[in-house]
Point group: D2
Chain length 323, copies 4
């Protein structure tokens, strides 16, 4: 092992830069050369490589986004695309690659490593925190705090006007972000795909809210809720309760960026170092995970399955505190 | 003058609490009694009054929203509603009132003061900063910084993915917030109602952006732009430039809340004290304004006209820096 | 069990309000009455009690500090003081108490519960995160992020001037905060009581830094480091390296306050609910802890022993990344 | 005019990067070449120059500190040093220079321009906002907000414990930052060099505070107060009022860094463009200032005199609100 590549793939997540820095510095400290692959698998296909020295990753630890950029690549899903990518890696004398991304990125790595016996190590980087085999993915803690700070602001207006706000947060298939931000902001109701009976809770709240003109409310909605997004739900509520002052806020893309929290920086750093360790230990096709704060190795085969489990205890707590 | 009322009206704005605190404490220091009128003109009609002592306004200086709540009142627009309001004020022995709000709130005060010879003093509180006769309205500086911080986050993603983001900010009739946040965030294009030729600039940028796959861009859009909001404009762009990765973010209600900036707290405090001074000086039907950091008195008659002028120099600067 | 008390004790920590809210609402939902005891054990002795309804804890979730206030009490350390406290609890018909604080607060609770067979349940609230038996104490995550944001600012100046900054953070006996914030900020050196050889690392860095005029550096210092605080260490360095531009920043009390992070709010809420659950299950003299995100019960006898263990792996990582 | 230089000098201030970006882009748009001079006058003497293209100043608008670095230079104060500097500028074919800094930086520019008839244009960049002839200096608004956010945190602890905090902020000769942050945070007392009788106010507050055990207080202290810094004043107070729980917090270097506020970014941008305009208009030895939001030209001769005037009205307001 003499030269490794590192890249980011899929949606950007705060802390990816911290992971790139840790991979680079840990590799350099172990006398490896490091190459940054820009724009994910697409850049790999195009040979968009830059050498990384210690100084190149200086001052990026606290920045959101990813200095290596990221992209989707339809071409990489074809055998021809992967062949091009493999040839680019060989040409650049790259012996192994660290990929920072989500389950889609790991699937790509798994297929290519099977076709070409090329070692990939994964680091989970996605604000959704829905990867199987790890308690934690890079970016989730920052995104959660971004949502909480945004909802705190909305709550100022909700309380001042006695309004009911439907706030939609990311989570197409999972309600983790909606559930935790809802608890953290004291949301009156939380609507997530995993829950049964949460719309009953909404109706109960609206009946109660209907009666007192001072009541305000925050309803957190995961974008993947079975009843539709915040706009559809609010529309229905407006019809059924025309007296209520109902508003919608879709947080959207502000949930992705921003300077990473302490936790995202520390964990990204730990995982970056662990990825280089794994390569030095001759590992391949595994994702670095965290289980109870300890580093674990999770086979890509497992990690590509999404984890949708949710702390049902938190849902009970939310209901209890809003009875 | 023995007892005054104070209330907030219209949309909530960060710094309103600082103004309520300053009015209350300045009045108490001048041996006046103070009554908080809750929920704007509607609360006035209903007699929803609370006495305010020094302690009641302790710890609110740094909070967003308004502790007195705010509301719209259709009833106050009727002579009957205003009569009820006047009777409530008389019954509570309130001799004069300080109203914190926007042009609509001042219109209401003007009408009522003409009908009943009742003294009102206004303090401009609106994040739009579009009131005639004052350089500054409470909440604008905080809203501007909230927008800038949100766009900084979006820019992380835009740069990481090479995307073009249309970011819509508040400003139904004015582009002040879009223009200043656009300059502050280095937006590539700014689309505001006041500008001519800004869509030419957009087209020019898109031609340029079309060619290089790494180019990202932030297009700030004031909600009142003549070409429609961000969603419509982005749709048109997607059709004309199907190769570009175009996204939309509507900042919405997060622009309203949040802990006020230093400037909003200091100015709200100055204006609150000046409002009580004006009442002690036997003034009425004026708004407290700031002209070059100095307190000025602006007749309601003038203040209710919106000020849509915009610093055209800033538009030139924006174009110059993005040539 | 019909009426419970709740209070905060020791140093304030962000998230204490979230815990007070959760205890109150969970108790009310279980048909218990709730009394807030103000100013810790001193307020207990003086009978400084306030009834808590659901509304009284509305809007406090996101506020730093503690609405119940906190204080040290020399009197409570005497048998006479504890007798007074017990009589006040009896007089107010309080059947059990939830105490939110650190090891000193739990020691007091343990002694009193042994003397008077009175049930106490503890919730760990301290920014030091040094309580035995729990992975987490309320306030630590917020304090860590506050430190990180402050050091990010200092780093701007350090890099602009090529300066070396010694930044002192809280931690009289433990280096947890210094270690984690140091990793999160990319500190060149971290000096903590638990480490051996960290001053060698400092010397090595200074030799290197001495040679290049552009080098800047952040040295994190836990206040309890064996070599003294940041001021003493910097003084010694200035003597040995008069050419270096050395500065000191003691973060001090800004580390304690501020709006709690999402994690501190969610965990404080979980723990508050779990404390009421424990009382309903007839538990006493235990602290609610979190072990791998799950609620655990830790006997006060164990929790009063401080946990000074530190992740030595993190120290190795820090050295590796700065070779 | 074909090639200009730009540099930052003196203490770093948030917004300096925005000014460097605006100077660079405005010059490039006017077909000028741009050279960045690193590390202030010292870098000028050493010929530490880098060419600046549009891309080199991309992504710096929102960063604190200065990408061109800054330094003090004893050598530049000697005729020999200035001769070296002049020769380096000539050698690099630089025709004129924009200097971003404080009064010391302008003094240097004035002396050199008189000795060598070399055109300098100044942009005021200092968090102290104490330059004659301009309402505004780059960095002040950010520093003010940083102080306010830090004091908000300290206030959480002060209120929770009933403590009195002496908070020392920057301002060796001027109390502007202390006065405005004190108003913005609701400080009970503000001690600044410009005020008479402020220590009487302190004594009055302490007498009052002494009586009620729940009173907390924030005393803002400008470092240049005639009674000494916060540590000395607090020591005296502790002796005279041993019953009070008195603490000190010196904010120090965190006041300098951080992402600039919207205002600092917009004004730095305006001033950067205006500096290039001035050079194109064949101006020299002037500082770009802002007078009531409009660009003005202030001769260096005037700008090097510090402006210590303070809004005495604000001091009266502070006293009024704390009677």
């Amino acid at each position: 092992l003499q030269k490794i590549g590192v890249f980011t793939s899929g949606g950007d997540a705060p802390g990816m830069n911290a992971a790139v820095r840790a991979v680079t510095r840990a590799a350099l400290a172990n006398k490896l050369k490091v190459v940054g692959i820009r724009r994910g698998y697409q850049g790999m296909i195009e040979g968009d490589f830059i050498p990384l020295k210690s100084n190149d990753v200086s001052g990026i630890l606290q920045l959101g986004g990813t200095m290596l950029k990221t992209a989707r690549s339809a071409e990489f899903r074809t055998p021809e695309g992967r062949e091009k990518a493999y040839k680019q890696l060989k040409k650049a004398e790259i012996d192994a690659v660290v990929v920072i991304g989500g389950d889609g990125s790991f699937t790509g790595a798994l297929v290519m490593s099977q076709e070409y016996d090329f070692p990939f190590i994964g680091i989970p980087g996605t604000i959704d925190n829905d990867i199987y085999g790890t308690d934690y993915t890079i970016g989730y803690d920052t995104a959660l705090n971004t949502v909480v700070q945004a909802v705190d602001k909305i709550k100022d207006t909700a309380r001042s006007h006695g309004r009911i706000f439907f706030v939609e947060v990311m989570g197409r298939e999972a309600g983790l972000l909606a559930l935790n931000s809802g608890i953290a902001c004291g949301a009156e109701v939380i609507l997530i795909p995993e829950a049964k009976g949460d719309h009953d809770q909404l109706n109960k709240f609206l009946e109660k809210g209907y009666k007192s003109k001072e009541t305000s409310g925050i309803i957190m909605v995961a974008e993947g809720d079975e009843a539709g997004g915040a706009i559809q739900i609010a529309e229905r509520v407006r019809k059924e309760h025309p007296d209520l002052d109902v508003r919608v806020s879709i947080l959207g893309h502000i949930q992705r960026g921003g300077s990473p929290t302490a936790k995202d920086r520390v964990n990204a750093t730990k995982m970056g170092v662990a990825a280089v360790d794994a390569l030095l230990d001759d590992q391949k096709s595994i994702m670095i995970g965290l289980d109870n704060e300890k580093i674990v190795h999770v086979p890509f085969n497992k990690a590509v399955k999404l984890n949708h489990s949710i702390d049902t205890n938190l849902m009970d707590i939310q209901k209890l505190l809003n009875t």
